[in-house]
């Protein structure tokens, strides 16, 4: 898959939740290259105090329109969040190694926390297109921080947890009753063979990966280590994997099989 440096024009910019913006954009010229779920783009920021691009996961692709879900946490993402329809945005994409869309399983469980839900929308659509039923389990601290539930509901069934109980079940995603087991340790709601995908805060992903391991379920984890180049040149974004090696998240990841990581 050839990587491109592409000028995008913002087609829609919309506030989502308390601190996030949904950006939709199309190439100023030409076509959007084929992007896979779990891949990301390096977005150029033209703010005076920002030097590096910002790696942002691909939230959705519809024809030539790509969307990003951006949480405004620092100057770079605040600049991105201030973009308006008609503005241009320079992107390097598609980057990284995305999720495995594994056929053979009937159901996939997609577990997201906070802005980590971003790559799971496009993933769910691709799973569905491959005959796999996506089931979402989405968590946040409070209901204001749950993002785009309506969009997720269009793709699959959605279960929700909030830490304060303001929506869905109170607690962490791993405590949700949809994951409940009977006295024989078999899951009651979900089939025994389910592929788990997760993206969100690291403690949440670790908990999800541990749960998947306990139940012998395959699990893929999307990391968001701090990056500079995004193309495997600088080796700043490495993750130390279970075999003791530092692996490059921007090219070998950001999606890894959970069994490869130190969890």
């Amino acid at each position: 898959m050839k990587k491109q440096i592409l000028d995008l024009r913002i087609t829609r910019a919309e506030e989502v939740g308390a601190q996030c913006v949904l950006l939709k954009a199309k190439p100023v010229e030409g076509r959007l290259p084929v992007c896979c779920p779990g891949q990301f783009a390096q977005l150029r920021v033209d703010a005076p105090d920002v030097f590096l691009r910002r790696p942002i996961s691909i939230h959705d692709v519809e024809g030539d329109e790509i969307s990003f879900l951006v949480q405004m946490v620092g100057e770079g993402t605040q600049w991105l969040g201030a973009l308006q329809a008609g503005d241009t945005l320079n992107a390097v994409l598609p980057l990284g190694h995305g999720f495995t869309v594994q056929t053979g399983n009937e159901v996939a469980l997609l577990v997201g926390g906070g802005v980590g839900v971003a790559p799971l929308l496009y993933l769910g659509k691709q799973l569905k297109a491959n005959g796999i039923r996506p089931v979402y389990l989405l968590g946040a601290r409070t209901k204001e921080l749950l993002l785009r539930l309506d969009a997720f509901r269009e793709v699959g069934e959605v279960f929700v947890t909030t830490e304060d109980g303001s929506m869905g079940e109170k607690g962490f995603v791993t405590q949700h009753s949809v994951l409940g087991c009977n006295e024989n340790g078999e899951m009651e709601t979900l089939p025994a063979r389910v592929m788990v995908y997760t993206c969100g805060p690291k403690p949440m992903m670790n908990a999800v990966a541990r749960l998947a391991r306990e139940r012998n379920l395959p699990c893929e984890v999307s990391l968001e280590n701090r990056m500079a180049c995004g193309v495997g040149a600088c080796l700043c974004c490495v993750e130390e994997t279970a075999d003791g090696h530092n692996r490059c998240v921007c090219t070998e990841g950001p999606v890894f099989d959970a069994s490869e990581l130190k969890i």
Partner: protein, 302 residues
């Protein structure tokens, strides 16, 4: 159209634009963005005799006008380079220069000797200036005697073009440059990163895993220009200038300061196609000012 050809220590370059080690991978990572045959050369990732895992994460901090890194020379070693990488880069239509590092004089010499056996690698850049490794690296590059000892050993082991990459973390860079020239270096390149630090005030913690890192990006350019200017006047061998080059104008400034070629580093992260734009911009500059050759502007400051 001006002639862009230049020469560094016997190595002919079609133009003065190369890439800086550690910012361009093995060139392969940038093939989607850059026609490598348009570049004077590429300097590939720092290679050591034995594999190195580098430093723990986090390794990077963004700073005003630049970034700090403490990668620490992560690489799979010279055997891996020779067996796995060399076959993929040997037919690139550009000069592929290998950045060689080590933790002892013997390691440097042996690594250089191994690279010297590779027919299509016409030069090495000897890294005696990495600030992110505890043993070797910059330890050799901050004293004239240390620098001389490494270059002397490598010179005996390596017959082709030997470029020595100098550290800016010294009191007098010209002293080191003269020392490596005396031991037979064919050229020097400078500057490697400036040692710095980042602190997270909210969490009251160091940002980088080892506390310190090397600063690169436009923030270091004035320091780099000054050092290139000083070294170009102190030695007779060619100087390769680098440090914060983002544009063709930046590159021209280094040439005027006395550099015979330049390397582009951190700018590749912001615009992966920047190198070709710099080549085109230097050519346009020469044409606009009526210079027939890039050699006509090297070190011509009054």
């Amino acid at each position: 159209m001006a002639d862009l050809k230049t020469n560094i220590g016997g190595l002919e370059l079609r133009n003065p634009v190369m890439t800086a080690s550690g910012t361009f991978g093995y060139g392969l990572e940038f093939e989607d963005f850059v026609d490598l045959s348009r570049l004077g050369g590429i300097v590939v990732k720092g290679t050591t005799l034995n594999p190195r895992e580098g430093n723990p994460y986090p390794r990077m901090a963004e700073t005003a006008g630049g970034m700090l890194n403490c990668v620490g020379l992560q690489n799979k070693g010279v055997d891996y380079f020779c067996e796995q990488i060399y076959p993929r880069v040997k037919d690139m239509d550009t000069n592929v220069v290998v950045n060689v590092s080590g933790s002892s004089v013997e390691d440097y010499a042996e690594c250089a000797r191994r690279i010297g056996e590779l027919e299509n690698i016409p030069a090495i850049e000897l890294n005696i200036s990495c600030p992110n490794v505890r043993q070797g690296g910059m330890a050799f590059g901050v004293t004239a005697a240390g620098a001389a000892s490494v270059v002397k050993a490598v010179r005996q082991a390596y017959p082709k073009t030997l470029i020595v990459k100098l550290s800016p973390n010294v009191t007098d860079v010209t002293e080191i440059a003269r020392a490596v020239e005396a031991e037979g270096a064919d050229a020097v390149s400078l500057i490697n990163t400036l040692m710095g630090m980042a602190i997270d005030a909210e969490r009251r913690r160091k940002v980088l895993s080892i506390g310190t890192g090397g600063l690169s990006g436009p923030a270091v350019k004035p320091v780099a220009l000054r050092m290139v200017y000083q070294v170009a006047r102190a030695v007779k061998i060619p100087v390769v200038g680098l440090g914060g080059i983002m544009t063709a104008t930046d590159a021209v400034e280094f040439l005027l300061a006395g550099a015979s070629a330049v390397e582009i580093g951190t700018a590749n992260f912001i615009d992966p196609s920047v190198t070709v734009k710099v080549v085109e911009g230097i050519e346009a500059y020469l044409d606009r000012h009526g210079f027939r050759s890039v050699k006509d502007i090297i070190g011509i400051l009054d």
